[in-house]
Symmetry: C2
Subunit: 243 residues, 2 copies
DNA sequence: CCTTTCCACTTGTTTATACAAGTTCTGTTT
DNA sequence: AAACAGAACTTGTATAAACAAGTGGAAAGG
């Protein structure tokens, strides 16, 4: 392919905003100015800028310019949900050490309860994994994952202790592409109370979702139950012209 | 402008997916086929398709085609958070009647607590509004809004009872463009317990955010406290090539 | 001085084209 | 029959060019 030019441009401008070269309220150089700087066409620039827009960093203004609306203090959250990011990756980004303890690791056949919860057909072979994630001594997340065995063969308890995604992407050569997530608040279950550092909380923030691979196969169901004061999710949206 | 061609295409394909013309697992016609159908270039088609992709409807597969991954049963949620949608709009989309009761409507000057919460500077004139939203007899959402008076002049209690956004967009000619939201689970406050139909719940799902207008001015802070069993938020994400 | 007009800038949309690269099937060769 | 090569598809990226439309300031007019 004519190679990806927009990616490094996106990264560079993103970093310039995050490091304060451009502050909230500032206008970026015009698209035409960027075409000269990066020696490419407006389309390529616009692609990079539109990615930053959907990240919530920029606000393009017709006829005026592109304004920065990102301020670093917005980063009050540990884990941003913009994008599919594994917990390990988010932790790395925030320079936090996460330890993982595997509570359950078993191969099984999807019964009705698994099917209802995860969306797999009854009778399919799956890996069922429960893990607790800790920062220091605080257990902050209770993860439940169900993987379709036919797509993720060779998963072990040892891999689950480290990074499942790294195994899938790196060792199996799988490409993870799209995910849909549902965010709710729920009462803490007995398991939550047993394994999580809930303190005085009796509820959790739950994120559940289905993950697809590049073949369009829904191969994973994931549910993360978070201690409320340790997480928040940031989402940015662009309102469509209402007409 | 050469007029918006992609919008109606986006809408039509979206509707075709939602009504089951194309089901989950199916492949859409190729981009080239669409160019003939809609008499436009691939670029325009690709734009419409990429919008559906970021909506979580489609999964494009290099060399194979574009697969539908949306299934209608995913719509277990009342309110989708993909996009900036006012509660009234979401209710309309789901054919639900929402009534609004204004608890507080006052003009005031931002003090430190308002400034901390909403992000406005101390001393700025604002409208402070608290509202309860009901479906039937159930009070499901406690809304707090702080509007910058200089940008939203003329707001009244009567408008707050109906639709603030309609007033801003229609009567003031304002364009609302970008918003960033933070989702957390929180303990119910005394106000929550007083006004919301919490049942046995003692916590709420909170969505707070800042809203910008087309001039890049952050003119609104909004906080919605939801009864947990009445709402969930759906978000879709596309994983970037990790490389 | 104030208003209007216009120009030079900005971003927004579309067309047209070219080539890169992944996938699938077909036909040939071994 | 199996393996390989290639053609014919698919989506992905980039270039180039044109025009639409909003914004803001400068110039021209009263």
């Amino acid at each position: 392919m004519p190679q990806q030019k927009y990616e490094p441009i996106y990264q560079e401008i993103k970093r310039e905003i995050e490091t304060g070269v451009y502050k909230a309220g500032d206008f970026l150089p015009s698209e035409n100015a960027y075409t000269e700087k990066y020696n490419c066409t407006r389309n390529t620039i616009r692609r990079a800028l539109s990615m930053l827009t959907s990240d919530g960093y920029l606000l393009p203004q017709h006829g005026r310019g592109v304004q920065v609306i990102y301020s670093p203090k917005d980063l009050r959250s540990l884990f941003s949900i913009g994008g599919i990011e594994s917990l390990g990756e988010a932790a790395k980004r925030n320079q936090i050490v996460i330890t993982t303890k595997v509570i359950t690791f078993k191969e099984m056949v999807a019964d009705e309860s698994i099917s209802m919860m995860a969306g797999f057909d009854i009778g399919e072979e799956v890996y069922f994994i429960e893990r607790v994630r800790k920062t220091g001594k605080k257990a902050i997340i209770f993860d439940t994952n169900v993987f379709l065995k036919s797509e993720t063969n060779g998963l072990t308890k040892e891999i689950a202790e480290k990074s499942v995604y790294e195994y899938l992407e790196h060792d199996l050569g799988m490409t993870i592409t799209t995910s849909r997530r549902r965010i709710t608040a729920q009462k803490a279950t007995k398991k939550d109370m047993k394994y999580l550092s809930l303190g005085s909380f009796d509820f959790v923030l739950t994120v559940e979702g289905q993950v697809f691979n590049s073949r369009g196969v829904m191969f994973e169901y994931t549910q993360s139950r978070h201690v409320p004061d340790q997480v928040c999710f940031i989402e940015s949206a662009v309102r469509q012209r209402s007409k």
